[in-house]
Subunit: 382 residues, 2 copies
């Protein structure tokens, strides 16, 4: 917990809630009759409403991207390293909006919310969201906030996919789009890892086909396994070697099936911690949204044709040791943008952290984003 | 099943059993009072007993490396593509021995065997094997077969680790050592994947702390998850893309939590199939043997010093798309051998299959092994 709030923090933040009564038609063919979005804002919207930046979150993220909810918080928001006064996304200059996505478990309508049709939690009957559904809900929030056009939409990983979708579905509503550590669609290997995670959750006897809330329980073991596996894919092999190597927990091999190595202990801790905080149905939903994302599919699998609808400038960034969405996956986006004659800056950042690198204020990365956001002020739409 | 046995097959094979009453002291400090090894042989031992080759198996392997057990077999042994008359490991020329390792579940003494001390299955009380324990038991089998010196000891993956251990512990008992798609020790990431697999098995309510046989059940779901995860690491990203891409099982997205993509269906099938055939305690034991393997640890982590004990010639082979034990892991072995001034040939084979490539008769790989085995006949020990 912070004894003092650091000077470059956005400080104490209160989440806000927007309720929408207009039904939201979804990609699945289903409709969400009404819903609420929980979000946070940092900084001040300027008079001509031209300084707003939307932050889109990743699989296990949420609206709490920066600052603290109370002086008792152990940690600030998930992207606090990059959002704040004087930071990369400078809240002295920009008005930052960060939303918990629909289907999430941090306050926006999702599987743990009450289904008005039944009076009971949606659970596994909550509709599977597509990235385009999130983007549509975010556009309605922008309407509500009086933001006609974002200065930029920014996201890493699954958040980057939302940023990309914004550029396709709402080309006139943004000057810049930053797609970080993402891919234009999952590979078979990406889907395979998600499927193992889903099977781990579904195999937990406390899962009850997703109706675990009705049984007053939670599939903690399955969620723990899913998170342990996910965590491996967020770190690079070299980062794991650097952090743990083959260090032994007790200095000697046990020759039993308990923890021998530090890395095992770390993964179990991470998994258990996560399983206390996250909803399993949300986890399943988020992995399906990842699997389904494939904007080129509506355009004969021609990503360049798909992206030619966009009207903003692009920043694409990847990280050298990211093997979840490796640099060549980002380069697929860059090549398509170049082919579509859209303005794009691309950099592969040399970073040891693997996929998680997008969360860190790595100097070259900071400079890249700063430069991009600044260039949008002079340039306007391309 | 084979309607006819192919001409280049070793044909119908009967496994043999060797029983050992001399206790086997183990790395763990425990002792196996007596045990049996199940093995197969292909080809004929020559008069001076100089043409014997030992094949060491990997995590889920066994003694049945080539040929068929009956005309009803759907498939031949696991390395049939490389062992047979006229094949890479030519049974017209060599006498090939393939053993099921201790702790396995295919006939050699392991967790499903009866513990003579209790009259009940060992289950989780079967001692954890180290690679050196297997090698010691294999050396006793060699004594029994009258093989003083192997022409070569050959293995891929965990089998390669056994071959390497042979060269350290029994330097005078082999002319050649082929270490294929292996590593001198697991990385933190390798251990992390094994730990997720172990946790998946241990979390299965049918696991019963490993005493599932006493409950007349088996942790099938956990073993299925472990295998699905393992399977992802055996294939390259590109091989999965080639094989499945984003092909949909039913031509359309379901927007539910059933199988959408072919790769999900494939993994589930592989996992279920495996969980019908393999013992969970053996799986746990094998992953621990992998985690523990680190021959340099007894030599101040100096692999070159450790390998300077060897007296044979080495072949080290890796595969370009193997990310489980990537080429740079094989190169660690090669560098240590060079530093120790031991004779070593090394090739990184260009192959799309990932880690599993070691099972396939890839022309460059075939030539490499053939050349190596031939060179041992002219050269003798280095």
């Amino acid at each position: 917990m912070p004894t003092d709030i650091p000077a470059d923090s956005v400080g104490l933040i209160s989440p806000q809630t927007a309720t929408f009564d207009e039904p939201l038609p979804l990609r699945s063919g289903r409709t969400l009759p009404s819903y609420q979005l929980v979000y946070e804002t940092y900084g001040t919207l300027n008079a001509d409403r031209s300084n707003a930046i939307l932050i889109c979150h990743a699989l296990s993220g949420h609206h709490h991207a920066a600052g603290y909810h109370s002086m008792d918080d152990r940690k600030p928001g998930w992207w606090d390293a990059c959002i704040g006064p004087g930071k990369v996304i400078d809240t002295n200059h920009y008005f930052v909006v960060s939303v918990n996505n629909l289907g999430g478990c941090h306050g926006s309508t999702g599987p743990t919310s009450i289904d008005p049709a039944t009076g009971r939690p949606y659970g596994p009957d909550f509709p599977i969201m597509a990235v385009r559904d999130w983007v549509k809900s975010q556009a309605r929030l922008a309407d509500r906030l009086g933001i006609e056009r974002w200065h930029a939409v920014i996201g890493g990983s699954l958040g980057g996919m939302q940023a990309l979708r914004w550029s396709i579905d709402y080309p006139e509503r943004m000057r810049g789009c930053a797609v970080i550590a993402a891919a234009p669609k999952l590979s078979a290997q990406n889907i395979a890892f998600n499927e193992v995670a889903r099977q781990a959750i579904a195999s937990d006897p406390d899962f009850h086909q997703g109706y675990y809330m009705d049984h007053d329980t939670r599939p903690k073991k399955g969620l723990m396994l899913a998170r342990m596996l996910g965590h491996i894919t967020y770190l690079s092999d070299s980062a794991m070697r650097e952090k743990f190597g083959r260090d032994l927990r007790s200095g000697t091999l046990n020759f039993n099936y308990d923890v021998d190595f530090e890395v095992e202990s770390y993964l179990r801790y991470q998994g258990e911690n996560f399983s206390d905080q996250f909803d399993a149905n949300t986890y399943l939903l988020m992995t399906k949204a990842l699997d389904y994302f494939d904007p080129a599919a509506d355009h004969d699998n021609d990503l360049a044709r798909c992206l030619s609808q966009s009207r903003c400038r692009f920043l694409v960034a990847s990280f050298s040791t990211d093997w979840r969405f490796a640099p060549d996956r980002s380069e697929e986006i860059v090549r398509a943008l170049v082919k579509a004659r859209r303005p794009v800056s691309y950099l592969e950042i040399d970073a040891p952290q693997g996929h998680d690198a997008f969360l860190f204020p790595i100097p070259e990365y900071v400079d890249l984003i700063k430069g991009f956001l600044g260039s949008l002020e002079t340039g306007g739409a391309a």
